[in-house]
């Protein structure tokens, strides 16, 4: 094969894409459609509570376009990190959607599902054996943390996809659990004999769709050759420029030059980004080196409590002028009145208008003419959180601060309920590397004929 073409409809399944751009991509006869659905960016609640990045209907709408298109064109459709977190639960949900879509369109297909939940006993044993390494700044992993974590996933590499694709009877649709974003593209490249480094690097860029282009688009075509690859946006007015494609390599990454992944690292020090045409960028010079140990990234989250907030508007300059002292006194008084509940609670007073967004990074925490104060209370149960939030608000409401001349209430209250229950608060509890011995067998596969025979 001289050229491998991979079509990515969008950087995140469920975020939508223009049908015309996708059709333009299909007209270029891609060898696979690959789309990722995964991210930790919107928070730990997905992993901790089993929620998804997008509503089920968003995934269904897009799969309803992608599945028939792939089957009609006789090319594989690979969806990775189902649901956003890639848990077994969401792989099964996506598989169900594929079966429904196949039935609705009268399609016959072979469906493979690849699972990435890691049994807790395996993580426990790996921790005992010293085969767990914390990512930078991540909290230490303990047996207690493993027990409290809802579910633990591992990001798979290219191997599980390569194994499926090189089978004599390869699947038509693969629904993957948690996956390192470029893995499916890397597998297609390696399968067809292309340089693994270029395969990984192209995967790294196109997994985000056309956001490396200007103006940023959704659908992108990656074209892999023996010694380079091309990035081509499918929106006609969009351009992939050498420096915007290079800049995308930096996006959301700890380093722009060294990109660690399952089983190896991609080095971009010697990469060259050039213009193949005014709207197609060409990339060469990527280098991939396997690591001595095969490590996968584990992800997991847990529920850490229940949260309530209360929102308060402050406008009095006499009060605002002594805000530090007043809020310190407020906390002290509530702690004294509710000692048990206070001891169980974590209280954050967010001062919007002063330093709420940047917190300790804020270089200019000046006193504003008005301030939105949000009291955030996290406690072991919802009622306790509401009680403490309520006491903070009612105490500040009538607090007799120094020099007060308005005695009818210190805060403007915008919304009911005045205390707002927010339910569970979650936290990433597992974000660690684990050494594994079998990059294929670690991730169980199920293959089925649709409709069932």
């Amino acid at each position: 094969m001289e050229e491998l073409r991979i079509l990515v409809p969008n950087g995140m399944l469920g975020y939508g894409f223009p049908q015309a751009d996708f059709d333009r991509g299909m007209a270029q006869h891609p060898h696979a459609i690959i789309v990722d659905a995964g991210s930790t960016d919107s928070g730990p609640q997905k992993l901790a509570l089993g929620s998804m990045t997008c509503p089920e209907s968003a995934y269904e709408k897009e799969l309803d376009i992608l599945v028939p298109a792939a089957i009609t064109a006789h090319i594989p459709l690979i969806v990775t990190s189902a649901g956003g977190d890639g848990t077994n639960q969401h792989v099964d949900l996506f598989a169900k959607l594929v079966r429904q879509i196949a039935a609705a369109h009268g399609l016959t297909l072979r469906l493979a599902t690849v699972y990435s939940d890691v049994p807790k006993v395996q993580v426990q044993a790996a921790l005992e054996a010293g085969q767990i390494q914390a990512m930078v700044n991540a909290p230490a992993l303990t047996q207690a943390v493993i027990a409290d974590t809802t579910v633990i996933t591992a990001q798979m590499g290219a191997e599980p996809y390569l194994e499926l694709l090189q089978s004599p009877t390869p699947p038509d649709v693969i629904i993957g659990g948690r996956t390192y974003d470029p893995s499916a593209t890397a597998a297609m490249g390696i399968l067809n004999g292309f340089d693994p480094a270029l395969s990984w690097h192209m995967g790294k860029i196109i997994e985000c769709g056309a956001i490396c282009c200007v103006p940023a688009g959704k659908t992108v075509l990656g074209r892999l050759f023996k010694d380079h690859f091309l990035i081509e946006p499918m929106a006609p007015d969009s351009r992939a420029l050498p420096h915007t494609v290079a800049a995308h390599t930096m996006y959301e990454k700890s380093s722009a030059l060294v990109l660690p992944g399952p089983g190896g690292k991609l080095y971009l020090h010697d990469c060259e980004f050039t213009a193949a045409t005014p709207r197609i960028a060409s990339v060469t010079g990527s280098r991939f080196e396997p690591t001595p140990e095969y490590q996968v990234k584990l992800e997991g989250a847990k529920v850490v409590g229940y949260r309530a907030i209360t929102i308060m508007g402050l406008r009095d300059p006499i009060l605002l002028g002594q805000l530090d002292e007043i809020l310190a006194a407020l906390e002290k008084q509530v702690a004294a009145e509710l000692p048990t509940e206070w001891a169980q609670s974590q209280v954050h007073l967010h001062r919007y208008g002063q330093n709420a967004t940047m917190q300790q990074f804020e270089p200019t925490p000046t006193i504003p003419h008005e301030l939105c104060l949000i009291a955030e209370v996290t406690a072991p149960d919802q009622d306790t959180a509401l009680l403490v939030a309520n006491r903070l608000r009612t105490t500040l409401l009538h607090y007799g601060y120094q020099g007060r001349i308005a005695t009818s209430g210190n805060i403007g209250m915008p919304f009911t309920p005045l205390e707002i229950p927010l339910g569970e608060v979650c936290a990433f509890s597992v974000y660690h590397l684990m050494t594994i011995s079998d990059p294929v067998g670690q991730f169980p596969v199920h293959i089925e004929e649709v409709p069932a025979q």
């Binding site: 960016d41 930078v136 940047m358 608060v425 974000y431």
Partner: protein, 103 residues
């Protein structure tokens, strides 16, 4: 000239749940090289701007192909959990806007 009038892109973003990364990209290779040569931003200056020890800086690198510099530091509070104020970490770049770029 202020960096906000000189650079093409100034941004911050999570790099995973436990790191925060900053990118500054320039309109031309000349602007990029001038920014580097003039020493507008050093690890020490960045650390002072964000009130962190310079030893906290995880990455401080230049990427010629993108005409950009990247700085990565530990995320100071846990992503999406208690006390969060910036889920994506995308609002932490403001102190960089006012950096002075000499002519």
């Amino acid at each position: 000239m202020k960096l906000q009038d000189y650079a093409a892109v100034i941004r911050s973003k999570n790099s995973g749940p436990f790191e925060l990364t900053f990118d500054i990209l320039f309109k031309t290779a000349e602007d990029y090289h001038h920014f580097i040569a003039a020493g507008v931003l050093t690890p020490e200056k960045f650390a002072a701007l964000y009130q962190i020890p310079v030893t906290d800086i995880i990455t401080f690198e230049q990427f010629d192909a993108a005409r950009g510099v990247k700085i990565t530091i530990p995320r100071p509070w846990p992503q999406g959990s208690i006390g969060e104020s910036d889920m994506h970490g995308s609002q932490q770049y403001a102190p960089l806007l006012g950096l002075d770029v000499p002519a």
